[in-house]
């Protein structure tokens, strides 16, 4: 009887704890789902008084839609740059004998948080000014890519290391050139890794605030994360109607990308190497 009682208490306790954790994560999402359609959104979740007026108001904001386009340019540009450079660097690091390779990788990884992090913002701004990269998409793309690359190389190298060299050797014996080996064999084999890096880079750049905030002056070029910060009244009070609607629009592309990429480039390839 006491055993049974203890068991019930344990189950209830566990369920309560999990519900609290779940609620903690679910409430902001729930707010994001309801507030944009609420005529009078607050910071609490409530049953909305349905309206699309918030989106109408958002479209009147001159920067809202262009900022999403800017986010797309910066995220896309960074993703292409990071994937290309990380794939090439990781392939080389994985296949060639470089003395002190692992130390190099770890130092890069350690410094990556510094390179584009808050601490380096002043020298980065200085550098961008001298190179004439202030107020350009390229400046933002280069700065953010630089910060993402070490970790991207690290992750890609793991994928490359996991690919047996006999695939490449086999192609080499059949006469394939280095370029052909890369295009026909290596890239298809590590495609899930490339997709992972791309998604991760896009999500990172999409959420970056500080770098574009400092490197871009012209609100015409500011990405979504920066524009979100401007949706306040003159008095400094948040315009919850605009913020909620914009937040929803701002989140959707990343969600769509995740779904698309995991469908398209899920881990499908196995076999071909008999182990």
């Amino acid at each position: 009887m006491r055993e049974h009682f203890r068991h019930v208490v344990a189950v209830i306790g566990r369920a309560t704890f999990l519900a609290a954790v779940l609620g903690f994560f679910a409430l902001p999402l729930l707010w994001l789902a309801t507030a944009p359609f609420d005529a009078r959104p607050g910071i609490a979740v409530s049953v909305p008084e349905f309206t699309l007026r918030n989106f109408q108001a958002l479209l009147d904001n001159p920067y809202a839609l262009t900022s999403l386009r800017n986010s797309l340019i910066q995220a896309g540009g960074s993703a292409v740059l990071v994937v290309t450079l990380a794939a090439l660097a990781a392939y080389a690091l994985s296949r060639a004998r470089v003395p002190g390779r692992d130390a190099l990788l770890y130092v890069l990884l350690l410094l990556s948080s510094v390179v584009s992090g808050t601490a380096a913002m002043v020298p980065l701004f200085e550098l961008a000014t001298r190179l004439g990269l202030i107020d350009t998409h390229l400046g933002v793309v280069l700065t953010l890519s630089g910060g993402l690359l070490p970790a991207a190389i690290f992750i890609m190298k793991d994928f490359m290391d996991g690919t047996p060299t006999s695939y490449e050797e086999s192609a080499r014996v059949f006469g394939a050139s280095s370029g052909q080996i890369l295009r026909h064999v290596v890239i298809p084999l590590v495609r899930p890794g490339l997709a992972t890096i791309a998604v991760w880079a896009v999500a990172n750049v999409w959420g970056s605030f500080l770098q574009p905030f400092i490197l871009l002056r012209d609100p015409e070029k500011a990405p979504g994360a920066v524009i979100l910060y401007t949706l306040y009244t003159e008095g400094g009070a948040p315009r919850l109607d605009l913020i909620s609607a914009f937040s929803l629009l701002y989140s959707l592309p990343v969600v769509v990308m995740y779904v698309f990429v995991s469908r398209r480039y899920g881990f499908r390839f196995h076999g071909g190497i008999k182990s």
Partner: protein, 357 residues
Amino acid sequence: MIALRGLTKEFPGGVRALDGLDLEIADGEFFALLGPSGCGKTTLLRTIAGLETPTSGNIWIGGTEVTSVPPGKRDVAMVFQDYALFPHMDVTANVAYPLRIRKVPRARREARAAETASRLSLSELLARRPAQLSGGQQQRVALARAVACHPRAFLFDEPLSNLDARLRLEARTFLKRLQRELAVTTVFVTHDQGEALALTDRIAVMSAGRFTQVGTPTEVFQRPANTFTAAFIGSTPMNLLPGTAGDGALRVAGAVLPLPGGVPDGPIVYGVRPEYMDLSLTPRADAFAGKVAVVENLGTAHLVTLESGEHLIQTVVPEGAEPSPGTAAWAVPRPGRALVYRDDRLVSPCPANGANR
């Protein structure tokens, strides 16, 4: 024809994987590189393929020196131990890949892939990916890919070792027939002496980067040039016992055996295969006396291990004739089957011509 002259490969760190190898493999020959793991046989194959660069020495393929020619220009096809089929390509694309590199138009190369595949009974599987094939099918696709590019030589790196035992026998017969039909020079790396004996025209037995013997399967089996080869070849390990020659007889492990011709007096190593000994249950002077320690069932025969002083002596007895463990028994070597070594070289019977290198 493949020829090697003084081929040496030293890896960084000073490991000598190949140590001054000389060899000639004739056109159309099926040639085995046989040895335990780490003996350098795979390194030799990879050096012939061009995947490793020799430290010194030269390689010729078909009369052309290829020592510094990149792998793709040597006109050889290699089948890897893990097959290395491209997992993102179907069977057709895999088999046609060498032709794709040679810029053969798509329709032509796919026709040729289909033709090669049908020859290797893969026609049903053309649209499958490697992951959807069994081990034996993967192995045949890997062979088809090598066959499709009509190379001057095939290089096989243990292509049968990843198959299970029954399938391996089938694949072995299949491989031998295919090689005979195509008549393409083939170098085959294996650690399995049975495979090498069954498949090939000639065998090079390797140990520590050198050839211990190069010869036909019969030569290597019947007249192993040294005790390493003697111990390595044969499905049951050869009995190798120290002894002395003198006074017109061989004295080995308590037995007095007839002295074969050509053996000078002095210390020797006496070798006899377990299959070439008979078991007697009555005492004999020309036999190894011992006590039956272990009896192992081989199916059609039994392998009996005798404890004879500090030596273990193995003999094979026919089914139904196996003694029970613990009984006293005498192992009688059959006349003419004994091998006598002095200083690790065969002195009796006379070594076959060219068997020693």
